[in-house]
């Protein structure tokens, strides 16, 4: 098993190196698309100011499309959702609702933050951007890292519990039975607290594009349109994260189906979970140190 893990890690390293090179092209494409939809939003905003018919719809469409391409490139929610989908036996419906709810919550949080900030605290536009970039972004990465840690911890615990159960079946008295659930139960992510943490870790950091649009909408006095546009943006993002949720669960299901009913299944499940957890921790800490 150890050799398998080692080989897998080497394989992963090579693969990662290869993928990272190509990734730049993808995020570059996404960045160009975002730029073009941002400019469409801007022209719709000007249209709204001068009472052009159709400007409202144009703004919502441009914002929704921006949300989709934004989720293709930057963004922090997808790899968490994908990691959870692969690493745990969460139900598809549950992960889909996490994807949807977290995107909408992210949009609502952005609206509360910007409009609330202007209304109650009279902060400036510049302070608003600084808040999102310097405080909320690192906070979000730390919460995501803690989700990864939880996954890693649970995976490790059930892995050792599995080994102990098979290895020392007759010395059960040395293990506390209340110690933990079975590997199958562990990875389901059923509790409200688990789901809330996932949603919060994604939603706490509003995307910069949403903040910019809300700042503009507040200043240009088209506040309702701005808020609705940011919700449309959230729906756009949700459509892509849902895709990630579904494909990660499909990939996991396929992998486990091929493993059949072998005795190694619980070990595989735990290993997948702790690997996903470790990777989530690694990526979020990587992002966190970049914000320092």
């Amino acid at each position: 098993m150890r050799i398998v893990l080692l080989l897998a890690l080497v394989g992963f390293g090579l693969l990662a190196g290869y993928l990272i090179i190509d990734l730049g092209a993808v995020s570059q494409w996404a960045a160009e698309q975002q730029r073009s939809f941002q400019n469409q939003m801007a022209s719709a905003v000007r249209g709204l100011r001068s009472g052009e018919p159709g400007a409202y719809l144009a703004l919502l469409l441009a914002a929704g499309s921006y949300g989709i391409v934004h989720a293709v490139g930057p963004g922090h929610g997808k790899y968490l959702i994908g990691g959870v989908g692969l690493g745990t036996s969460v139900r598809a419906s549950r992960l889909l609702s996490v994807a949807l709810v977290s995107s909408i919550a992210q949009a609502i949080w952005a609206i509360l933050l910007v409009y609330g900030g202007f209304l109650l605290l009279e902060v400036s536009a510049r302070q608003m951007t600084v808040l999102a970039e310097d405080i909320l972004a690192p906070a979000s990465y730390l919460i995501i890292a803690s989700v990864g840690l939880i996954l890693f911890w649970r995976g490790t615990r059930s892995l050792f519990k599995g080994w102990r159960d098979t290895g020392h079946a007759h010395h059960d008295h040395c293990c506390n039975h209340a110690h933990g659930p079975t590997p199958h139960e562990v990875a389901k992510l059923e509790s409200v607290r688990d789901v809330a943490t996932l949603v919060a870790s994604i939603a706490i950091r509003p995307c910069t594009g949403a903040i910019f649009l809300l700042v503009i909408a507040w200043q240009m006095d088209i506040r309702l349109a701005g808020a609705l546009a940011v919700l449309a943006m959230g729906l756009g993002t949700a459509s892509l994260t849902s895709l990630v949720a579904l494909s990660s669960i499909a990939a996991r299901t396929a992998a486990f189906a091929s493993a059949g009913n072998s005795a190694a299944l619980p070990v595989l499940a735990s290993t997948a979970q702790l690997t996903a957890g470790a990777l989530i921790v690694w990526f979020s800490l990587l992002l966190f140190q970049l914000t320092l």
Partner: protein, 221 residues
């Protein structure tokens, strides 16, 4: 054992793959500015000043106005009073301003004065800024090659020359021609790396913007 190996491998690799494929990233540069530079001559071949033009994109324009607490009027244009206020506010150039116009004479940097004569207009929803950079010591151009590179050194702003360069004033026989930035394989890979930097990060490479700069070559006969 072989089957178990394959399964374990796929289970371990797949989350890894996913984590990499959906690696969070946002691209450097973040603000795109079009524009160009015109050359002002006096008495034949003495280059006196550069007239620089910046044209922000539509979204950046609105964000910029909003960040100064300014708004568009009911025609979707900028009121004259607001326009003047914006000129006043923007005339206070930031300390780390690097000017976007980098002039070299036979590869030696030519010193430019702090920007003057800033003017701003809203043209087709895009904010257009024009300003002058005088040469601290005007130079008489003979056989030398003058080159202007249009960039911001950290590449947070990506400048492109979209206005054809003009030679103004009593210019003798000087000719300005555009040398658009050419993306070769090495730069393409650097560009990919930069595309993964977020707004708050600064590229490691010093003066990285210069590598992606559009240039203007000025030759006097």
């Amino acid at each position: 054992m072989a089957a178990l190996f394959r399964r374990s491998l796929s289970l371990v690799l797949m989350p890894a793959l996913f984590a990499v494929v959906i690696h969070p990233a946002s691209a450097h540069p973040h603000v795109f500015v079009d524009g160009g530079v015109d050359f002002v001559f006096r008495e034949g071949r003495t280059l006196e000043a550069l007239n620089v033009t910046w044209i922000y994109d539509e979204f950046e324009t609105l964000y910029l106005l909003s960040s100064y607490g300014l708004s568009l009027n009911r025609e979707g244009e900028l009121d004259e009073a607001d326009r003047k206020e914006l000129v006043r506010l923007r005339s206070d150039w930031p300390e780390d301003f690097d000017g976007s116009a980098h002039l070299t004479l036979d590869e030696t940097e030519v010193e430019l004065d702090w920007p003057t004569n800033l003017d701003l207009h809203l043209v087709d929803g895009r904010l257009q800024a024009t300003f002058t950079r005088r040469l601290s010591n005007p130079i008489t151009v003979d056989e030398q090659i003058l080159e202007l590179a249009f960039y911001e050194s950290t590449y947070f702003y990506a400048f492109s020359i979209t206005n054809h360069p003009k030679v103004l004033g009593d210019q003798g026989r000087c000719l300005a021609s555009m040398v658009p930035f050419d993306l070769d394989a090495k730069l393409a890979s650097l560009q990919s790396t930069l595309a993964k930097l977020s707004r708050e990060e600064t590229p490691q490479t010093e003066n990285v913007g210069a590598l992606f700069a559009d240039r203007i070559a000025l030759i006097c006969e």
